[in-house]
């Protein structure tokens, strides 16, 4: 059964009267929380996502003994959406965190060498957690935006005598060289549009999430049950490059 999302799209409209290539109002707030080493809150229409960074000192992976470690995790709290259930992370939560993770990791924005304290023994671990507080669709874009903003906001705590002192934040941030941003384009019948609401997401045939660093792309993820054509993929990529440029303006340089 086709929903009114399809009927409207056929006539060139969306439920909330937006253009196909228009984001809902987007807002990025830095440091909404005091305890996290870095935090950000992103509002995209009625979708609200909170991201936070905790820094810990740990052992590096044996194959990268002088690289700091990035870990991205997200939880779909039942507080944010009546369809989310309590319990271990759902497959949707895992996909969300992995897509955000790849956007950041593959962009190469974090200079992990600078997070090394002692080669083979001690490195900084950047623990980025993402929590939707209200899900009205497009968690991918909101989560990626909140994630990079929280990383930009983070300040390392003091590390002295092999101990992290969380009561003292230093002026040193996480070394970042780029600003990866993600844009998700959905396909409904033969129409493409961005920033789907929850209702539009349910009606979508397919989606493509594209992470960019300026003109270059650094990660992608296709989702949804239907296939995409070459032409559609090209259009989606063009759209994402254009729209991520807009989102990037909301972030610190």
């Amino acid at each position: 059964m086709k929903s009114h999302v399809h009927t409207l799209a056929e006539k060139g409209f969306r439920l909330d009267n937006r253009k196909f290539d228009e984001y809902r109002p987007v807002k990025v707030e830095y440091s909404p929380l005091e305890n996290a080493e870095g935090s950000a809150r992103v509002t995209m229409g009625k979708t609200v996502v909170l991201a936070g960074v905790k820094m810990e000192v740990g052992t590096p992976f044996p194959d990268t003994p002088d690289d700091g470690v990035l870990m991205v995790n997200s939880e779909l709290l039942p507080l944010a959406n009546p369809d989310f259930e309590s319990g271990p992370p759902s497959i949707e939560a895992i996909e969300l965190s992995r897509v955000v993770d790849r956007g950041i990791r593959e962009s190469g924005t974090i200079d992990t060498k600078k997070l090394c304290i002692k080669k083979g023994e001690k490195v900084w671990m950047v623990l980025l957690d993402i929590y939707p507080m209200n899900d009205d669709g497009n968690l991918f874009d909101a989560a990626a935006l909140a994630g990079i903003a929280a990383l930009q906001d983070a300040k390392l705590p003091e590390y002295k005598d092999e101990k992290v002192d969380y009561t003292k934040k230093t002026s040193k941030g996480i070394p970042l060289s780029k600003v990866p941003v993600e844009c998700t384009v959905v396909k409904i019948d033969n129409h493409l549009f961005i920033d789907p609401s929850r209702e539009e997401e349910k009606a979508a045939d397919a989606r493509l999430t594209i992470a960019t660093i300026g003109k270059q792309l650094c990660a992608m993820q296709k989702g949804g049950d239907q296939a995409l054509t070459d032409k559609e993929i090209e259009e989606m990529v063009d759209l994402a490059v254009k729209k991520t440029e807009e989102l990037r303006k909301l972030l610190k340089k």
Partner: protein, 228 residues
């Protein structure tokens, strides 16, 4: 007069802030902040749930308390339930139950999700205060609101609303209570530390007075959304 570590008077609460309707998806929601401790509560329901858990006589109230992973001032909190969070979920539920009219929603469940986004002691009480407002915001029939705060003893003085340093001090006493403000009935009571039997009266006196102050903030936030 001797004051506390953070300069407060003995019966003075940290700065409070409350807001109703913070989660648009939920039937009711609220934020309650006291000092650096911030709790967000969302209520979903009354809604259908597993048949074997349903009760045709009365509805069911389910509460879940959780600290998000970057809420703490120390290391990251591992996601998922812990023994601590499960116990707090239980006492939160019991603290709210006497105020909720379960007969209004037989066979259904009301879910209360409490998330602590930033913590500095007093999280269970902040969670209960937020949850009570969220239930009221959801229009769940209630006999009263529930207001919670911890009383305590630090270096011999009876105090209200412990901060982290006071709470974690070895000789300190933590005495969290929740109260239905109209009747003064107590719905949460826990205590950690060594006290004299006669001290209980003092804890109750300072604790109840503190709950009254929480109640004022809760009422004000509800009035802001619903008028007089």
């Amino acid at each position: 007069m001797v004051k506390r570590i953070d300069g407060r008077k003995f019966d003075e609460l940290r700065k409070m802030e409350a807001k109703v309707g913070v989660i648009p998806n939920a039937a009711g929601s609220a934020m309650f902040k006291i000092g650096k401790t911030t709790a967000i509560a969302a209520v979903y329901g009354p809604r259908d749930f597993q048949a074997y858990l349903q009760n045709p006589e009365v509805g069911v109230l389910r509460c879940n308390y959780n600290m998000i992973s970057f809420s703490s001032g120390g290391e990251r909190v591992r996601p998922g339930p812990s023994r601590r969070s499960r116990e707090i979920s239980l006492v939160t539920e019991k603290a709210l139950l006497p105020a909720v009219d379960l007969s209004a929603f037989p066979n259904a469940v009301v879910d209360v999700y409490v998330e602590l986004i930033n913590t500095d002691a007093g999280t269970r009480c902040a969670g209960i205060s937020a949850a009570a407002m969220a239930l009221a915001d959801a229009g769940i029939p209630m006999r009263d609101l529930v207001s919670a705060v911890s009383a305590g003893k630090f270096k011999g003085d009876f105090i209200a609303d412990l901060n982290y340093e006071e709470d974690s001090a070895e000789e300190g006493v933590d005495f969290p209570i929740a109260m239905m403000p109209r009747t003064g009935a107590i719905t949460l009571m826990q205590m950690d530390g060594i006290v004299e039997k006669d001290d209980i009266k003092e804890f109750m006196k300072i604790g109840k007075k503190a709950c009254e102050k929480v109640y004022e903030v809760q009422k004000k936030a509800l009035r802001e959304k619903y008028g007089k």
